[in-house]
């Protein structure tokens, strides 16, 4: 032990001021990075908010609104309702006077509807002479975008002279309708002053001298999902698109998840760590970055031409499956890598085989990661357009593929019948064949299809504004689907990982 030495008087003084200057200058760098970083984040968030806001404000009305046309007096058709547009605050409303519906028969049914909210449906259907059917709203799913709704009123004028029949008139009293005039061209908007006569067109033809805008109409949302695409933007819906998306995603899921998980497990648990494996590993990461249209080209060559699978749901599902396979593989591998080696050693150490270790430990513990990755992959696939256009997805489909849930039928097959025919010819006492079970569930796979993003693209490429709003609405639905999937992924991640902490 040495004695502590007394301080030397000429020991150099530490320059505290310089120290502080040094700190201040380093902190300045800190601060400027913080400010620029925060700025970038806020600007990006702002841009994002504007983009989403735009999409929502464009798309939301399409889910809830229908069309009306401004009409010159002469333009009123038999089925049109005239009204006056009025400015109310920032918006516009149209007050429609009584519409006389003399075609309605004075029956018990009609009387029963008096005072109820009703809709007139079927005006666009039925060919040259429009057919008018009044239904009670709520009972009537058939109320379509372009239909009129309001309260039914019955007036009975006493007969002019005794002996004549009383004249019965049914009126529909629509409520005032809020009108969104944002889409009206500026020069026409200036002419749009209170009192401008407008008409609700029941016709899809947009005549010259009219412009179209939207009015709030009470119940339409459901129709958007239950209608096929149509030449009439007010009637057009995304039925074939969302069904197509669902079916294609089903195939994609069935192809990508088992394959991707198996590949990931093989690479992590079985593959020898050699040069070939590392080349494969690098290329899986590369594959994830291949432009999706290239996948479309490859699929066109492989599935459509070589394997002759057609431009079908199956081809589309497999193409998207291949496209997202790398994502599933990478997610699986990451999930597996996060399992500590001590778990493998514990399992192997108890005499488990490699497969038992995978089956009882690796797979269950990596399941949250695999599922999360798979859902992310699905939400990527759901929005893919380019590869599907390349393999020839149709843009206008007014039919649905057959249901993928196998309808099980009992029927006598052609072979059974012909065997029976032969046998009966020889021996008339042969018992008739028994009907056998047949699964006819595979047809949807070979069906033609369209999907949401393609429907969206098709509408956007049309000149009419109404279609653009339909496109935006499709965008909203697609976005909602994707966000739901991502939400599910986040939920699963938290939920399933809760009891897996090493």
């Amino acid at each position: 032990m040495t004695e502590p030495t007394p301080p030397t008087p000429d020991a150099p003084m530490r320059d505290v001021a310089a120290l502080r200057r040094n700190i201040a200058s380093r902190k300045r760098a800190d601060k400027s990075f913080f400010i620029s970083g925060a700025l970038i984040i806020f600007v990006s968030l702002g841009i994002l908010a504007v983009l989403f806001g735009n999409l929502l404000s464009e798309g939301w009305p399409a889910l809830t609104q229908t069309y009306y046309t401004k009409a010159d007096k002469s333009g009123f058709g038999r089925d049109d309702l005239g009204g006056e547009i009025t400015r109310v605050g920032d918006g516009w409303t149209v007050q429609i006077p009584l519409a006389t519906l003399s075609d309605i028969k004075d029956s018990d049914v009609s009387k029963g509807l008096v005072g109820k909210k009703v809709g007139i449906v079927g005006r666009l259907r039925g060919g040259a002479i429009p057919q008018i059917i009044v239904r009670e709203i709520g009972l009537a799913d058939q109320i379509a975008a372009a239909d009129i709704t309001g309260t039914l009123e019955r007036t009975q004028t006493p007969p002019a002279k005794p002996g004549d029949e009383a004249e019965v008139v049914y009126n529909i009293l629509p409520g005032p309708l809020a009108v969104n005039v944002d889409k009206i061209p500026a020069e026409e908007k200036s002419a749009l002053v209170s009192g401008t006569p407008v008409a609700f067109k029941m016709d899809d033809r947009v005549k010259e001298g009219r412009f179209t805008a939207r009015s709030v109409s009470p119940l339409i949302t459901k129709n958007f999902f239950t209608s096929f695409p149509s030449r009439n933007p007010g009637e057009a819906g995304i039925l074939s698109a969302w069904v197509g998306t669902l079916l294609v995603m089903l195939v994609t899921m069935l192809a990508a998840i088992p394959l991707g998980a198996a590949a990931g497990i093989y690479l992590e648990e079985y593959a020898p760590k050699n040069r070939l494996t590392s080349i494969i590993e690098i290329n899986i990461a590369n594959l994830a970055g291949v432009p999706s249209i290239i996948w479309g080209l490859m699929a066109l060559g492989l599935f459509v031409y070589t394997l002759a699978l057609g431009r079908s749901v199956l081809t589309a599902g497999l193409t998207l499956g291949l496209l997202v396979l790398p994502i599933v593989i990478i997610a699986t591998r990451e999930a597996i890598r996060s399992i500590p080696n001590t778990i493998r050693e514990a399992s192997i150490g108890l005499g488990a085989t490699k497969w038992q270790t995978i089956r009882y430990h690796i797979l269950p513990y990596s399941m949250p990661g695999i599922l999360t990755g798979s859902i992310i992959a699905m939400s990527r696939a759901i929005g893919e357009t380019a590869p599907l256009v390349t393999i020839g997805a149709l843009t206008f489909i007014a039919f649905l593929p057959r249901s993928p849930i196998p309808p099980i039928q009992r029927e006598i097959s052609v072979e059974q019948q012909s065997t029976y025919d032969l046998a009966v010819a020889k021996d008339p006492s042969t018992p008739p064949p028994q009907p056998q079970l047949h699964f006819t569930g595979g047809e949807w796979l070979t069906s033609e299809f369209t999907v949401m993003p393609i429907q969206l693209f098709q509408w956007v490429s049309r000149p009419q504004l109404e279609f653009h709003q339909n496109a935006a609405a499709t965008g909203v639905v697609l976005l909602a689907m994707t966000l739901t999937l991502n939400g599910l992924a986040i939920f699963l991640r938290f939920r399933l990982r809760r009891n897996l902490k090493w």
Binding site: R344, A346, L350, G351, Y360, H361, Y365
Partner: protein, 275 residues
Amino acid sequence: MTATATPGNLKFTATPPTEVLGPVKARVKDFSFHYANGFQALKSINLSVAENQVTALIGPSGCGKSTLLRSFNRMHDLYARNRYHGEIILSPENINLVGPELDPIEIRMRVSMVFQKPNPFPKSIFENVAFGLRVRGERNKAYVNQRVEESLRGAALWDEVKDRLDQSGLALSGGQQQRLCIARALATDPEILLFDEPTAALDPISTTKVEDLVVELKKTVTIVIVTHNMQQAARVADYTAFMYLGELIEFDVTNKLFTTPTNPMTEQYLTGRFG
């Protein structure tokens, strides 16, 4: 056999291993081990593991204790290109544990291991213990239930967990988790039980419990234990092997090794002058 190990400026010679008194369970013969990167972690080890006795492996960090222990149940096979040389002969059949002809799965069913860090599966306490039986296809529920209870009793854990067997094994305290791992290793009724610093992550009370357990368990099973704690080796082990830089320096009855080591290097280590 000469050792080239030279701590500081001392040069010592390894003492030839002493034979054990009773029956031998496993005999390590000229055993060397190379890791995948070519590093030789064990150099020509000769050692006898006495049946139903506790054999402790001590020595400074990195001397190869874990490497030797993990050779007993072929844990090194999990990682490619690790190489064994020499033999570890298991009685009574006189089979070579590290021979390529022997299925490592058979060895692991006969030689169980408890690791330094408690590593229960993120499953229920019951399933943790039953796993070894499950993998061999045991379907008899009554038997599995009975073995789980016996093993948990054997690991002195039964009273603490008997009411919550369906709870996650991860919900137990560190000491309980380690005893759960011991129960898991006992469930398959192994012939040899390997412990790699089983109390390194435990508090003194849990440590005492595990130590008592080790002494209790040797009635039914042969035990090899790696420890850094000299007092622990003195308390639980019948035989102790001192290793240094991949070599076995001295092996003897614990009492003798601790009181009158023949090799000066052992003495230096025991008195805390290196390691």
